[in-house]
Structure formats: C-alpha cells, structure tokens
C-alpha cells in the first residue's frame, strides 16, 4: 500500500517518461548501434542539454509556486554579458562570477517582489523583466561579441573531470542537489505548501511572500549559472543568447509533471522531460530528419504528456472511489 502510493502519487509521470526514454534508447541502440549508445554520443547529448536542464530546474521551482518566469532567457544573456564584460575589464574570475551570480539572484528576486509584494501577475511581471534585461544586454554590447576571456574562465565549461564534461557535472550536480533539497529542505518544502494552497499556507503560518521571492531568486540564479556555462563554453558573451529558451524550459517542466496550478512538480520528472526532448531531437538528426520539426515535436510531446497524465489521474481516482 505504502509503496504503491509512493509509486503512483509521487512519481507516476517520471515512471512514464522513464519508460518512453528507455524504449527510444533501446530502439535507437538496436537500429544505430554503436553510433548511438557510444558513451561519446550520450555524453554529448547531456553536455548540450545542460543549459536547458538548469533553466528547467529553476522553472520547476517557479511552477511549484504556481507562477511562471518568462525572463530566464534574458537573465541568462544579461548575466552572461555582465560576467564576460567584467572579465574583459580584467577582473578576477572568482569575483566576476560572484558579481554575476548576485546579479542573477537580484533579477530573480525583483520578479519575486513584483509578484508577491505588488501583486502583479507573474506572466506580466516576468514579461516586463524579460524585455528590460534583453534590451539592457543589447545596450551594453551594442551587439558585439565579447571575447578574449581568460582560460581559467573558459575552462569552467570546457574542462573535464574523469573524462566527464564539467557542464554535465555542474548542471547534473546542481540538479540533483536541488532535487534532493526540494523535498528535504524547509524552504523548498514551504514552496510546495504555498503553491499547493496559499490560503491553507497562510492559516498554517507560512510566509508566502518570502517563499515566493526565494523561489524566483533561485530561478534567476540557475539562469545565471546556465549563462556562465554558455559564455565560458563558447568563449564569448552575446546579447542574443538564450532567446526563446523560456518556452523550452516551461515545456520541459510541464512534461516532467509540473502544473501551472502550482504545488506540483518534481525534479526527476523535469530532468527526464529535458532529456526526452533532447533525445528526440538527437534521434531526428540521427535519421537525417529535418530539424525543422523539432519545435513541433516539443509542442506535441507537451500535449501528449499532459494527456497521459490526465488519463493516469482519472484512472487513479476511479480506483480511489472503489
């Protein structure tokens, strides 16, 4: 009984995703063989989805809070430019990183404040910060690439530990840590409460404003990390980085089981969502399919995932009534 509950209620979506991914994986391995399941290919897939992984991770927090954050792509670009410019100016790497991270955190918190204190709809508030930050990025660079970054910085994303790309290590470890904390840490737990039912949360003495600001702050922070990885990976800062990433992030988290209603979402699911999307794109190219379809695919997958979930819950509630 107990396990059953864990099994269905907590991770139902993740299980479904895992199965789908496994099926694709096996199928591809059978068809393409070595080409596909070579450790190289797998690690590449992961290395390439590290940015999305971080963004989706942050987005999951926001969705758990019952909100949404359209500004992640812009935060990514903006902080990326901040850090690269500072480094260009000859600042010490650590210091530059810290400043960038703080900037990202600030941007996120700004969203949180606008939403929780001034009662602006999350969509609108983050839409505003989205265009402001994107604009600022262009103002700062007037479109030029920012290059000439120190190797110590560039090596952050390009380096390897035990033959595994730092990008994978960093993004996955952050993901896992937050994933674990999300259910084990007080602050994160309270996000579920606030998102689940803000009235009940209020009557249970949980400070929802503080929780929300924290949530959006983390989202901004993760976007920044993603921006740092991207800039150091390509060895350049650019104002157009991360355009349209917010939609991908939302799609991934929702595929992973988060819902706009709030109170739901788990990080395993989100990670699997990101992986699934990336995998399908990879499969497309493997078969020389036109990548034009990739956007369509993520849209369709989104619907399918939601539909599947609906069926599952319907089935469950039927069982519940018996």
């Amino acid at each position: 009984m107990k396990n059953k509950n864990k099994h269905y209620a907590v991770n139902g979506r993740s299980i479904t995703l895992l199965i789908i991914i496994a099926v694709i994986f096996v199928a591809m391995s059978l068809i393409k063989g070595e080409l596909f399941y070579s450790s190289n290919n797998i690690s590449t897939i992961f290395a390439n989805l590290s940015y999305d992984l971080l963004l989706a991770c942050g987005m999951t927090f926001v969705l758990i809070l019952g909100g949404i954050d359209l500004s992640v792509g812009s935060v990514l670009a903006f902080t990326g430019i901040i850090v690269t410019m500072l480094l260009r100016g000859g600042m010490n790497v650590i210091l530059a990183l810290i400043i960038a991270l703080l900037t990202g955190l600030a941007c996120g918190c700004l969203n949180g404040v606008l939403i929780s204190k001034f009662n602006i709809a999350p969509f609108i508030a983050t839409l505003a910060t989205m265009s402001i930050l994107r604009g600022l990025s262009y103002v700062l660079t007037s479109g030029f690439f920012i290059v000439g970054l120190p190797d110590s910085y560039v090596s952050i994303a390009r380096g390897y530990i035990f033959g595994i790309s730092n990008k994978i290590i960093i993004s996955l470890s952050i993901m896992i840590i937050l994933g674990l904390l999300s259910t084990r840490h007080k602050a994160f737990k309270q996000m579920f409460f606030v998102g689940g039912n803000s009235d009940t949360a209020y009557f249970s003495g949980i400070a929802s404003a503080k929780t929300k600001i924290l949530g959006y702050g983390i989202c901004g922070l993760l976007a920044t990390v993603s921006g740092i990885l991207m800039t150091s990976n390509f060895g350049m800062g650019q104002a157009s980085f991360g355009t349209g990433f917010e939609m991908r992030a939302i799609a991934a988290s929702v595929i992973g089981g988060a819902s706009m209603a709030g109170g739901e979402g788990n990080f395993i699911g989100t990670a699997l969502g990101v992986i699934l999307v990336a995998l399908v794109n990879n499969v497309f190219i493997m078969f020389n399919g036109s990548p034009n379809w990739s956007t369509a695919i993520s849209g369709i997958m989104l619907l399918v995932a939601v539909a599947l979930d609906l069926l599952r819950t319907k089935y469950k509630s039927k069982k519940g009534r018996k």
Binding site: R184, K186, D199, A207
Partner: protein, 500 residues
C-alpha cells in the same frame, strides 16, 4: 396533488450520510420553513432541489410528474430558483447585470437595452421597497446589499418554487420586513416559498408550515396553528447521543490564558469580552451569522481587529498574522477543512508538519524524514487515523473523519497552549467524532486551553466546561456548564426578545 413532492431523498458525501429518506410534500401558495441545527442537511436538500447536487436515492415530483435536475439551468427551466447562502454575484459587474445576467433585454444584435434593463432592475427592487442605482458596481455594495441583489436576481425570474437559504442573515430589519411583504405577495400569486432561517421569530412570523430536520432525517411538520417556538426547539434538540462524552474538567480555577476585552470587527462581531482558562474546554455556541468564526479569526490574527484588545497570559497581544499567533502558541483549527485546513494534493506526513516545520528541521534547515515519520506515526496511532500506514497517501484518498484527524494532528504538532477548534467534528463519522472529543479532553487535562466553536448542542453540552453563546455578532452569555439544558441554550442562541 402537491406542487413539489420529495420521496425518500437520500444523499451522502463519501462515507458521511447527510440525508436519509427525506419525504416532504409542499403545496403551492405556501411559505414552508425548514429548520434544523447546522449540519442537519437543510442546505444539501435545497441544493438537490435546485439541481446543484443530484440525490443518491429517491425522486422529485413537480405537479406529480418526476423531474431529473442535473444543473441549475434545468432547475430554472422547471421553475425552481434558489437564493444561495453563499453569495453568487460577480462583483465586477453592475447590479442590473447581476440581476438579469444572461436575461438582459436585447435587440437583434444582442445589444443590451440599458435603459430598459436598468428600469426593470429598479422595478424589481421597488417590489421589496428598496431603491438602488442599477448601474452601481456590486463590489461597492455592502454584503447586505449584495445579498439583496442575489435575492432580487432569483425573484425576478418568476419562479414557481422559490428557495431562500438564510436570506436574512445579512439584512437589516427594514430590508427583512420588505422581503417578507414581497414573499406574502408571491404566496398570494401561488408561489411555493421554501424558507430556511435560524431566526425563530421570523419563522413563526411568516411560515404556513414548518418542517424540522435533524441529523439529515425528517422529524416532523407543524401546521400554522401548531407553530410554537418552544415546540420547534424541542423538536430540533434531542439528537440521539451518538457517543458517550468524556468527563468534565476536574477543577475550574485554571489560570486565565487568553482574554479579550471589547473585541470588535466591523460588520462581523461586536464588543466581545471573554476569558479562556487553562485546563478547560470553553464551548462557543451560536447559529449561522453569530460571528463565532469571525471572532476566532481575529483572535488568531487571520483578520484585523477594529476595536478592543486581546490579552495572552496577562500581556496585550496584537497579532498581524497567523504566523505570529502560532509563535505565541495559539492554534486555530478551521471549519473549512478543504479550503483553509489541509493541502489536499499533498500526503499525510506533509500536512502533519505543515504548521510547525521547524520542529522537524535541523540548523541547516534540512528536514529530518525519520522525525517526520515518527511524528506522523505518533498521531496516526494516538488519533487512530486509518489506514494506519497512510503517511504517504494523499489527503484526498482519506475519509472525512481521518482528514479531520490529520488536521488536528497538524495543530497538535505545533504544540500550542491555546487551541481554538472550529466545528471540530463537522462531516465526521461517529467513531472519529468520539475519538476527537476524547483527545480534546485529554489535551485540556494536560493543561491546554481549548476553545471549541460548535453548532451541535449535544457536543457543546457534552464536552465543554463553560458555554458561551453568541448571536448576531454579540456575546449573549457565558454559563458554567452545570445542568444546562439544550432548550435553554438554544433559546439563548435565538436570543428571543434579547439584547437588540
């Protein structure tokens, strides 16, 4: 052949039976009052007639022919209109729009004829002798006026059967009188009016017949000449003791922990001064609109205070939020389990710790799962929550009784000094009920100060050491609970000819 006939209507929510074969026949051109304590099943019955709920068993006949009502639209088609207890107006619209929603006079373009609309609206209001600007936005109206808009909305539909569920709870005397005048007019036109109220004087004033419900069962009907307030009361009370109540407090001279002085909240309750002692259960009884819950909210910091003071262990307290209340050891168990009490989508252990997460977190803020499970298991055992391994099951998979127990454990986990419980056994099966009663008593014995808001007389009398009675926002009386009778308390609660 009567206009509306109910045959063996039954309804239960989950495992909680709300109505058991109610059979009633109501004639056209009568004002038929339905009375009973809270939770007697009146509103449920009305919702079934109004097509909002569908009954589990039984049938509804109109003019002898059976009808099946699945939604309000069908009910209106069948000529049934309900004035709901809870408001169903859209406050972003004008009065006129609310009254004639979806029935506005329109031209071929579907354009609303505002002149006509407003004129009609004014006409409808004149019928109950009220003048109101039809183009006023509803959210600029007082709750009372909103209630009237609600009533007028239904009245304006020329219904054969008009159901009024607590229509006067928010009305002034004048408005009430006007409403009655109108009801008499309608009666004369042959409309059947089903009238639900907690104000005995109103009922005896206007009803042609009075039917009494108790515990979701039909008790009896009194004809015009038989109607007598004491008789009604005696029919309402005497709910069979579904369980033995625990012993009373050993001593009644515990220290005063919580005290209010002239506490007031505009339009909710007024000038309430009362003391709550440690080791006692103080029951607060009252009927709908008595202001008990509102009082509790203000004490708990969930709503603001417009006047008066709250003292906690002698020193004044002004709480801005429940958070502070909980820090001070004051807990409030809400009557609205689903909306304000529990996180339905989350599992039992989460709910159990919700209001005191700190207790299970270390300095790093990391939750200690073993602790969580320990605490949850503790309450699961002590409150006998079923199934006894439900730590990880979602709340919505539990029965009402067990949900209530989880809610209780949530507050016990916050180990408060003052525990305010609001309708602690609403919608709860017999077993769970007595369990909860015993727990409350144990807590009191352990020195906790318990405040129990309840609408169930037996519960009030059976459990509490002192009984406070509120009526229409005022504290009527506080009585030591020695040989109090239900009649006496209920009479107080109706505040017949009382302070008003």
């Amino acid at each position: 052949m009567s206009l509306l006939e109910l045959k063996n209507i039954s309804k239960s929510f989950g495992d909680n039976k709300v109505l058991t074969d109610i059979s009633l026949s109501l004639e056209e051109g009568e004002i038929h009052s339905i009375i009973g304590e809270n939770g007697a099943g009146k509103s449920t019955l009305m919702k079934i007639i109004g097509g909002i709920y569908t009954s589990d068993g039984g049938e509804i006949l109109i003019n002898g022919s059976q009808v099946h009502l699945h939604n309000p639209i069908e009910a209106y088609k069948a000529g049934i209109g309900i004035v709901h207890q809870e408001l169903s107006v859209a406050d972003n619209m004008t009065v006129a729009q609310n009254v004639f929603v979806n029935r506005e006079p329109v031209n071929f373009l579907g354009f609303v004829d505002w002149k006509k609309l407003n004129a009609n609206t004014e006409k409808e209001f004149k019928k109950i002798g009220i003048y109101i600007k039809p183009d006023m936005l509803v959210h600029n109206l007082s709750v009372g006026m909103q209630q009237i808009v609600e009533i007028v909305k239904v009245l304006s539909q020329e219904v054969k059967i008009l159901i009024l569920d607590e229509p006067t709870s928010a009305l002034s005397d004048k408005e009430t009188q006007n409403l009655f005048e109108l009801l008499f007019k309608l009666r004369a036109q042959g409309t059947l009016i089903i009238f639900i109220s907690h104000k005995l004087n109103e009922i005896s004033q206007i009803s042609d017949r009075v039917s009494v419900l108790r515990d979701g069962k039909y008790i009896g009907t009194l004809n015009k000449e038989e109607i007598d307030e004491n008789r009604i009361i005696s029919m309402m009370v005497g709910r069979e003791l579904d369980n033995l109540y625990p012993h009373k407090a050993k001593s009644r001279n515990g220290q005063v922990v919580l005290k209010t002085e002239h506490l007031s909240r505009n339009g909710k309750f007024d000038d309430v001064s009362i003391e709550f002692k440690a080791g006692e259960i103080t029951g607060i009884f009252g009927l709908v609109g008595a202001g008990r819950t509102e009082f509790a909210w203000s004490v708990f910091g969930a709503d603001r205070i417009d006047g008066g003071k709250v003292f906690y262990e002698g020193n004044e307290l002004n709480l801005k939020s429940p958070t502070q209340a909980i820090k001070n050891g004051i807990a409030y168990l809400t009557e609205d389990r689903k909306r304000l009490g529990l996180f339905l989508g989350m599992d039992v252990k989460d709910n159990a710790i919700a209001s005191n997460v700190d207790a299970v977190t270390n300095k790093m803020g990391i939750l200690d799962n073993s602790k969580i499970y320990k605490i949850t298991q503790k309450y699961i055992d002590s409150l006998e929550i079923h199934p006894n391994n439900c730590e990880d099951s979602k709340i919505y998979n539990l029965s009402g009784g067990n949900q209530q127990k989880v809610l209780l454990s949530k507050w016990l986990a916050a180990n408060p000094r003052v525990l305010i419980v609001d309708e602690p056994t609403r919608g709860v099966d017999v077993g769970a009920k007595s369990k909860i009663h015993n727990i409350l008593r144990q807590l009191a014995d352990s020195g906790m100060t318990i405040v129990m808001i309840s609408s169930e007389l037996p519960e009030i009398l059976g459990l509490s050491d002192r009984v406070a009675v509120m009526c229409e926002g005022k504290l009527i009386d506080v009585m030591e609970n020695d040989n109090l009778t239900e009649e006496y308390v209920l009479t107080k609660a109706f505040n017949k000819g009382g302070a008003k």
